[in-house]
Amino acid sequence: MQPLQFAAPTSLAEAAQILGSSDNPKVLAGGTDLLVQMKLGLREPALVVDIKQIPELMQLSLDDSGLHLGAAVPGAVVTGNADIAKLFPGFVEALGLIGSTQVQGRCSPGGNLCNSSPAADSVPAMIANAAVCRIVGGSGERSVPVEEFNTGPGRNCLANDEILVSLDFPRPAPRTSDAYLRFIPRTEMDIAVAGAAVSLTLDDSGTCTAARVAIGAVAPTALLVPEAAAALVGTQLDDDALAAAAAAASAAASPISDKRGTAEYRKKVVGVLVRRAAAIAKARAAAQ
């Protein structure tokens, strides 16, 4: 067995260089996925790179352009920030659903995304909010919409020497809000069986002028479902519109059956979640 190496670089450049030097590196942010996978023998990296000493990864700023969230900022820091919760209540709730309080102390939105699990709770909420990934690597910097970041279960678009630096959320338009719901068999400590995030913008008459709907745990990656959004835009978000969005989400889902739920069950429930999340987002937007 190759002995494991550990590094804790303090700059992006150093990190890219260290990552590029290994043929089997893994980035360590909160470790709440990686260390479990290593424990269970699912991953055996040769090098673990702790990125939490890199300032850009731990920064959080909220300004007129929106939210800029360092990829390794712990969940508990985000969920404890009232300003973020006001603008993106659904995203903050989604992040807060990841694991236990203990996991919240470590897990990060960037880690949740880079683990590339189709069931990651915060990812549909990032997609619904049109968040963009800022990526830095040996060959420079690039931006990728969150919905394009993951390419399959456990797979994403990062090259070996690339690091997800931040997630950038555009500032929502007035009378815009979001919601995220997931289904788990217990109330806590489970992986989502299905998840749904909805972001909505209303005009003064209560008509939905823009919408983004994303679903999780029902396809190889979290999906943006434009058909579901289309069912909402231009409506008063009445029961029929919500039902149409739910049906569109169920239709877009292509889940598997596994120990957490059957494919039929997931298809059904993801529609229910989209409907309920849209109703919550509507109420939140209307309250602004």
Partner: protein
């Protein structure tokens, strides 16, 4: 043998809930559990496990593993004596060594995935794990069978070529996967069904689950130059560990000392051994202390889970609610070796009810899954769940309140259950009445909400225990037993000793000591510790009182009859009756001599030497326990999600020595049952590999899943026990499953009896797809 014992009813300490004596160490992290001991020079054991559910072991090659620096010893079944047909002497129930030894180390064949086949000792855990990967085991893979029905098929793969079903007449000529069969008749069920106005028949499936104690199995074994073994481990029964380790390794019991660590939960799961004999053999071979700690994954895959069972129950009742006949046919999965609690299921499933006509049948089935083991009231929850679900449906159909229906049919004193032993005073009706009177039973149910009621029974054990009491020169008391404290039993022991001796609770220091420091004690299990080990403590304390009276009499140069022990002091009677003095109806005479415990202890050297008392007993005075649960749930009809809204437990404790810990047993059992009903199950893939071997997907209830669990302790004294104690630890897990199932079915309008009622299954039932 009739009991003419007077049950004590007035207590000074018993019935209070003081802080447990071991509590400080447990809230500060000082208490030492199984994995908390590290010995000088210690090395680490790692077990090599089968990747197949059924295979012949052709060869085991350690040569590559031994090349790894740091590897000190290896072992396989070759290092253990051939078990043959020998029975394990002195085991709680009849056990064949050949059904126990291969669970420690497989011999010839592996019968389930992750069965132990070899082990390594090395200087670090990492090296041991690496070396384990280098052990080459050559297997001939055999077809496997996981499902009980498939295992009973003519052409099913045979687990044991020498298994001829026990209990059928004539004895079968062909081997099969049916280990045992039992038929228990009473009256005439067909005649009973003919009398019935309503008959309901249902098949209820209860899944394989796990005790899911939070502390994994762990031990440290040391072997000295004379071959004496010192074994530290987490267990419910150190004497059981001594016995099984001796039988499995061939080392005599007299050479094995077992010290039980603090134990992080057991629930029956730690009433056997998995790693202890391996650590002992490795320690002998390596010449170094060997520590083995099972991973959580290993605990799920390779310890003893709990039988899944399929029970077909048919019950007949008259319009007025009288039960006329009960027929129960149970299939119980025992995994790879016969060890299930099928008999208890067959015998006890109908115990709460008066019914003249009962037929209860059971078969124990072998499958390529881990060998099952005990879990709180082993066998009873599966059987009672099936019966209670049908009883509830009968009540609904007959339009009778489910509690009233049960009150009408509940057993009482002198009724004879299927297992034949007439009941003495039992508190089932009292429990039923108590839940009926509880405000929770009056709470209004809303939309999508339902309420379930269930009764339960467990027989409770007595068995063997020892206790000894030493007195310090200043009058302190150390009370020693061999019963590991799994849920506050030190507090109960101290309460009972304080009660007899009339001293403050804090004066008593209870201890759990190793197998060489106390007489034999059966394990902490079977709801027996407070009754039996407590009984030994009471006896030892009574002997000590006798001795103290004797010492006082000697000091005063009076007869022992002239000394009464009251309020922790020897008091001269001066002609007043003992009872009058103790009850306080006559005052102590002026000028009567008095010696306190501390004074007697200080003088002990002059009056006959140290003050000690020892008692050992085989308790025959166990009495059964009944319990009743009421559960309210709300079902989300669009997702199949169940929320438990209210939960009420009533249980007959006989006498609650430490009421807070009795409530704790009730609440803990309730929540385990809720988990088993809703989400807990073993999920195997088609290769027999457990798919949810971790707490992420083996979903035990978490704090946010639950409401407060309301408890009502009923005290109908056990007439055979001096304080009226019954066992309390096991029966709490019996009623919650059926209570939850019935509540959910009422709320959802379903008749789902395939547990767990996980959301996908329940939603399919709601949508009419099941």
């Amino acid at each position: 043998m009739t009991s003419d014992m007077k049950v004590k009813t007035k207590f000074r300490h018993v019935g209070t809930s003081p802080i447990r004596p071991d509590g400080l160490d447990k809230v500060t992290g000082r208490a030492k559990y199984g994995a908390d001991l590290n010995l000088q020079g210690q090395v680490y054991g790692h077990i090599v496990r089968s990747p197949h559910a059924h295979a012949r072991i052709k060869s085991i090659d350690f040569s590559e593993a031994l090349k790894l620096p740091g590897v000190l010893a290896t072992m396989s079944a070759e290092d253990l004596p051939e078990p043959g047909e020998a029975l394990i002497p002195g085991a709680e129930i009849e056990m064949k060594l050949k059904n126990v030894s291969p669970v420690i180390m497989a011999r010839d064949k592996v019968l389930y995935h992750s069965q132990a086949v070899a082990a390594i000792a090395a200087t670090t855990p990492r090296i041991a794990a690496e070396a384990a990967k280098l052990v080459k085991v050559e297997y001939e893979v055999l077809p496997h069978v996981l499902d009980m029905h498939a295992a009973m098929a003519e052409d099913a793969p045979l687990l044991h070529e020498d298994n001829f079903t026990v209990g059928v007449d004539p004895a079968p000529e062909k081997p099969s996967n049916i280990a045992q069969h039992i038929v228990m008749p009473k009256g005439d069920v067909e005649a009973g069904f003919a009398e019935a106005d309503l008959i309901i028949e249902r098949t209820v499936h209860v899944p394989m689950c796990h005790q899911a104690y939070i502390e994994p199995h762990a031990c440290v074994a040391k072997s000295d130059e004379n071959g004496k073994i010192d074994l530290w481990c987490t267990t419910q029964g150190p004497f059981m560990v001594r016995l099984l380790t001796a039988e499995i390794t061939g080392i005599p019991q007299k050479d094995i000392k077992v010290t039980a660590s603090e134990i992080g939960g057991g629930f029956g799961g730690k009433t056997t051994v998995y790693i202890e004999p391996v650590a002992v053999v490795l320690a002998k071979k390596a010449g170094r202390p060997v520590k083995i700690v099972m991973s959580r994954e290993e605990v799920f895959r390779a310890s003893g889970p709990v039988s899944d069972a399929e029970t077909r129950v048919k019950i007949g009742a008259k319009k007025d609610g009288t039960l006329t006949a009960i027929k129960s046919e149970m299939l119980m999965d025992t995994g790879a070796y016969s060890a299930s609690a099928m008999f208890a299921g067959v015998l006890f499933g109908t115990a709460p009810y008066k019914c003249d006509n009962i037929l209860s049948v059971g078969s124990e089935i072998l499958t390529n899954k881990p060998r099952v083991w005990a879990y709180r009231a082993p066998g009873a929850p599966q059987a009672l769940t099936a019966v209670e679900c049908v009883i509830n449906e009968l009540a609904w159909e007959l339009g009778i309140d489910p509690v009233d229906f049960r009150l009408q049919n509940a057993v009482e004193k002198d009724d004879i259950p299927l297992y034949g032993m007439p009941f003495q005073a039992v508190g089932l009706k009292e429990c039923l009445q108590a839940v009926k009177d509880h405000p929770n039973y009056q709470a209004k149910l809303g939309e999508n909400q339902g309420r379930g009621v269930a009764c339960a029974f467990w027989i409770n054990a007595g068995m063997q225990s020892s206790a000894s009491i030493h007195v310090t020169p200043d009058g302190g008391l150390s009370v020693m037993t061999g019963s590991p404290d799994i849920g506050g039993s030190r507090a109960s022991m101290a309460l009972m000793a304080a009660e007899v001796l009339g001293v403050p609770f804090e004066t008593v220091r209870p201890a759990v000591v190793d197998t060489e420091s106390i007489g034999y004690c059966d394990g902490t299990g079977g709801s027996r510790t407070t009754l039996a080990t407590g009984g030994a403590v009471i006896q030892a304390a009574e002997k000590l009182v006798e001795e103290l009276r004797k010492r006082a009499a000697a000091s005063w140069q009076v007869e022992i009859e002239d000394v009464v022990w009251m309020d922790g002091k020897a008091v001269e009677r001066c002609g007043v009756g003992i009872d009058e003095l103790i009850e306080g109806s006559s005052p102590v005479k002026d000028g009567a001599k008095v010696l306190t415990l501390a004074e007697l202890a200080a003088a002990a050297g002059h009056t006959g030497g140290p003050l000690t008392a020892v008692a050992s007993l085989h308790a025959h005075n166990a009495a059964p326990a009944f319990a009743v649960n009421v559960c309210d749930v709300e079902v989300d009809p669009e997702t199949g999600k169940v929320d438990v809204l209210r939960f009420t437990c009533a249980q007959d404790a006989g006498k609650a020595i430490h009421p807070a810990y009795v409530e704790g047993q009730m609440q803990g059992g309730a929540v385990q049952g809720i988990g088993w009903a809703l989400n807990e199950e073993y999920l195997f893939d088609d290769q027999g590999v457990l798919d949810n071997a971790g707490f992420l997907d083996y979903r035990i209830p978490v704090a946010s899943d639950l409401p407060m669990i309301d408890t009502i302790i009923i005290e109908v004294p056990n007439e055979m026990h001096p304080y009226g104690v019954r066992g309390v630890g096991e029966v709490p897990i019996c009623p919650p499953m059926p209570a939850v199932v019935c509540a959910v079915n009422q709320a959802a309008g379903t008749r789902l009896y395939d547990l767990p009622m996980s959301p996908p299954k329940l939603l399919a039932a709601i949508d009419g797809e099941a």
